[in-house]
Amino acid sequence: MSTPGASGAPGVDGAGSGALSVNGVSKRFGEIMALDDVSFEVRPAELFGLVGPDGAGKTTLFRILATLLIPDSGSATVLGLDVIADLWAIRARVGYMPGRFSLYPDLSVEENLSFFASVFGTSIEEGRAAIAPIYNQIEPFRDRRAGALSGGMKQKLALCCALVHRPDILLLDEPTTGVDAVSRREFWDLLSTLKASGLPIVVSTAYMEEATRCDRVALMQKGRVLAVDEPAAIASRYPHPLFAVHARERHALLQVLRDYPHAASIYPFGASVHYSDARSGVSAASIADDLRGFLATRSVTDVSVEPIAPGVEDAFMELMGAPEGAVRAAA
């Protein structure tokens, strides 16, 4: 067994200076291709997001990176260590927070933390500095059973348990799933704090808007990587002019927009509808005018049409639509 929590021997040979590297990894379960030739790198001190819906392969990938599952093909390194050959060395240095709540509900907050510390041959006190920013928030409840904590508190305790042995990289599988919007935001604030200390973090989420909290993201769908880049860069490659359209009756607006011959895509988006136009070489202003005119002829009232900058969710839908959509209206 390696020395637990060894203060980071820097990335060994072979894998460059990255925190983590995935090279052509595939994994099949029966008929389901859980991971299909997945490749990306995570840089030192990076907050890296795996963004995609259930079934994208995020959990399978985490299990491979945490050395709990062997890929069918391809290779991966964590802190420069090979996930198959160096599994024991990796386990001592990785903080892994699995998807579902992974703590012992009948143990108290403090007992859970002590247990995870002792598994790694350390103690809460030794790990204190690493967990302080988070543990301070749950310490008032240290005698409470973990099972009786609120969703947001559970996530914080699980994060403490993943951090207490002072890992050199964090792997967090959907830490914010099922957590309310406010607690989600606070959890991301915590990750930003941790990242500022230089700890590389790989975190997965199905909430598209959380992509913007990451330095870089891999957008994933059905075992494949759709794109890897900074969120803003992914959004900026969106290929069509995009507009937010409002009207009094949104459902009617959606139906009518589908009859408009120039649409590339039409999706409800919060209070508005995002409309992208398939034409090229036409100015945003004239597209908006033309669209307003069309909606007027179809008796849609209280219309506004504003050009907007695409976000990650717009980009995701465009990318996931492309492979299946056969011929798209190529302008």
């Binding site: 259930d54 099922g178 919007a181 604030d189 949104r250």
Partner: protein, 249 residues
């Protein structure tokens, strides 16, 4: 038009903890009502009372015209329910799930056959009718689960986080199915952690510590809290005193 759901002073205590604290509201037939709140705010307890699974400590409620305490059986017969966690039997085929639920809801064989045919056509599941549900993509499962929850033509349907983890296109298709049902007059009571989805609702309520802290159309609620987005309203209500902007942008 009568109320599909009427709630008056509905309260539930567990020991000295008040999970739901005298909530009162009405939902009209055909409305899409978003029932929002932070984790632990009391949403699940409130829903359990409305579907007749948990007795209130005090107050009362009627759903689809039936009292949730005195006529709990009638309530359950007239509602549909779908949650993210439990919806369909994974080891049964699509056809078997439809037949099973049709039987549970007391439909005749002829009704089950007719509605199954219509449902399969609508969802374009023709090729998957004899496939095990476990083999379907999540998005199809969710749509099928919703259709099965509507099999007995309930007047009110409860959807508990129906779109969690679903891809963004399927999520939107799912909401179109919700709109379609609402236009047919079904009342839709839905919970979600996606605040953009809250904007798709006719009206919403936001629960904080067992009470309803805000209620109205999404526009009214935003206006009342002078907020640009429902996200902002949520932060103001759930964490009073904190700054509603991202602090580590």
């Amino acid at each position: 038009m009568s109320s599909a759901i009427e709630v008056r002073g509905l309260t539930r205590r567990f020991g000295d903890f008040t999970a739901v604290d005298s909530i009162t509201f009405d939902i009209q037939a055909g409305e899409v009502f978003g029932f929002l709140g932070a984790n632990g705010a009391g949403k699940t307890t409130a829903i359990k009372m409305l579907i007749g699974l948990l007795a209130p400590t005090s107050g009362n409620a009627s759903v689809a015209g039936f009292d949730v305490v005195r006529n709990a059986d009638e309530v359950r017969r007239h509602i549909g329910y779908m949650s993210q966690r439990f919806s369909l039997y994974e080891d049964l085929t699509v056809r078997e799930n439809i037949t099973l639920y049709g039987g549970i809801y007391g439909l005749t064989d002829a009704e089950i056959r007719d509605r199954a045919t219509a449902l399969i056509r609508e969802l374009q599941l023709d090729d998957a009718i004899d496939a095990r549900v476990a083999s379907l993509p999540l998005g199809w499962k969710q749509k099928l689960a919703f259709s099965v929850a509507m099999l007995h033509r309930p007047t009110v349907v409860f959807l508990d986080e129906p779109t969690g983890g679903v891809d963004p296109i399927t999520r939107r298709q799912f909401w179109e199915m919700i709109y379609g049902e609402a236009e047919r007059g079904t009342t839709v009571f839905v919970t979600t952690h996606y605040l953009d989805e809250a904007e798709y609702c006719d009206r919403i309520s936001i629960m904080v510590d067992g009470r309803i802290a805000a209620m109205g159309t999404p526009g009214e609620v935003k206006q009342k809290f002078s907020a640009e987005s429902l996200d902002e309203v949520f932060v103001q209500l759930v964490r009073p005193g904190s700054t509603p902007t991202l602090q580590h942008g």
